[in-house]
Amino acid sequence: MNSKISFRDVVKTFPLKDATFTALGGVSLDIADQEFVTVVGPSGCGKSTLMSMAAGLQEPDSGSVLVDGTPVSGPGPDRGVIFQQYALFPWLTVRQNVEFGLKLASVPAEERRRRTEQAIGLVGLSDFADALPKTLSGGMKQRCAIARAYAVDPQVLLMDEPFGALDALTRVQLQDQLLQTWSQDKRTVLFITHDVDEAVYLASRVVVMAARPGRVHRVVDVELPYPRTEEIRLSPEFRRIRNEVWTSVYHQEAPAQAA
């Protein structure tokens, strides 16, 4: 019972017009407490579906999803979720967005203010606390979404291609910031990406998924020390692991496919 999140034989299907589509065909995966796991795989292999079941936004058809050994029965503030599309409330300022979850949790005003400012400061948005999302760049929006998740202080962070829409430089900055925060707070992170470099740079374990049906194809251990640095990113060992993951993502045996 020492895994923080565990997927046991998770099956998820979606009804189509005249058939059912198997998005996940029996996925089992265990993520230890304080572990940083990334998931890569071709588009449509069920990464988002897997994550939203951990978030409690969808339920498996069969199998189970456990957090702390308890079946997930809906969303909860113990699990923070960060979406690729930022999902900021556009009518609220940065501060109000970050406060949103704290207000729902009825955190007393003073503590709420303190935690809000702290989370905003952590992602470097203090100068923009009163700005509306429409005035922010993509990177700043995602920083705000991350602050909104941090503010509630969840034990688990579920991130679905959070940096996928950002330019390369911003992405690297946010990766480093994420790792730095993680090294202090040691949350459990399940991080989905389609970027192999990102997957290897962040994780201690990379889960490679395959499509049709969605399943775990391989799990690659990343035996690189933390803190991860520029040096590590350029090291031959990094390149070796990266190539290994790349190969298992892009040279998967073709499934029995139609299109």
Partner: protein, 270 residues
């Protein structure tokens, strides 16, 4: 000025000036276009190119008399009262109905057939029925205006709820929001832009309807005045009433636009 300003400052200064200039220019053009229109009207009327067309001066004089003897004011109040009552009732009923339709599929299934059916009937076509059912007092007039504004608003507030970004709902849900909170804190603000668009369409529809509604045995009102004037070929009276309706409609529309800017300024421009 002989002072050398740092480049950022000049840039900032220019940036401040430019929007002001570009904001003023359309206004100037608007005024020029209006003046040109009135001038053209004056020329056409003076040359007698269109039979019975009164000159702008004649219309202005008529307006003066109608203000002096109180008819313009009482007509305006009569029409305005009908529009505001019918319109406000329509909005107040339409927004919750639209919300309920968007939020509860059952309500949608129950209400939608009626909405779709009545949407195809122009509110004006309801007038004969309104007269038979409700008589010729204020009630049928307000009822028809109510219907016009309700139809415009209900569809847009329903659409507003349907179109709320599912990711926003999920974002609220994972932060611990209940359905009730999601409705109040996400669905309502997110659909405000739609509702305001519906309110503006509804306002236009209400004004369009009031004139016809005043054909039902009214004793005063801008539409009634025009109707009466047309039987006596009082073209100047018709013009005064028409222009009054136009101005009132425009002012109310601008007020709503102002509200829209204030309430939905958070929207990203695409």
């Amino acid at each position: 000025m002989a002072v050398i300003t740092p480049p950022e400052k000049t840039a900032a200064g220019q940036r401040q000036q430019q929007p002001r200039r570009s904001r003023r220019r359309p206004l100037v053009l608007n005024a020029v276009a209006l003046a040109a229109g009135v001038a053209l009207w004056a020329v056409v009327a003076a040359l007698g190119l269109v039979e019975n067309l009164p000159t702008p001066t004649a219309v202005a004089q008529k307006a003066g008399t109608m203000i002096a003897d109180g008819t313009l004011v009482s007509d305006t109040f009569a029409s305005l009262r009908r529009v505001l009552l019918g319109y406000a009732l329509g909005v107040v009923v339409a927004v919750p109905v639209g919300f309920l339709m968007g939020w509860y599929p059952t309500v949608r299934a129950l209400v939608e057939p009626y909405i779709q059916f009545f949407r195809t009937i122009p509110p004006l076509a309801m007038i004969p029925l309104a007269v038979v059912l409700l008589g010729i007092g204020e009630v049928p007039k307000i009822a028809v205006i109510f219907l016009a504004s309700f139809m415009a608003c209900v569809v847009s507030s329903f659409q507003g709820v349907i179109d709320v970004d599912k990711t926003l709902i999920n974002a609220a849900r994972v932060l611990g929001a209940s359905d009730r909170i999601i409705f109040a804190k996400v669905v309502i603000p997110a659909s405000t832009p739609f509702i305001l668009v519906g309110m503006r369409i509804g306002l236009g529809a209400s004004w369009a309807t009031v004139v016809a509604a005043e054909l039902i045995g009214a004793q005063e009102g801008l539409g009634y005045r025009m109707q009466k004037a047309s039987t006596w070929f009082e073209m100047d009276t018709i013009f005064v009433s028409l222009i009054t309706i136009g101005v009132l409609g425009l002012v109310m529309d601008r007020l709503l636009l102002l509200a829209e800017r204030r309430l939905t300024g958070w929207q990203e421009r695409r």
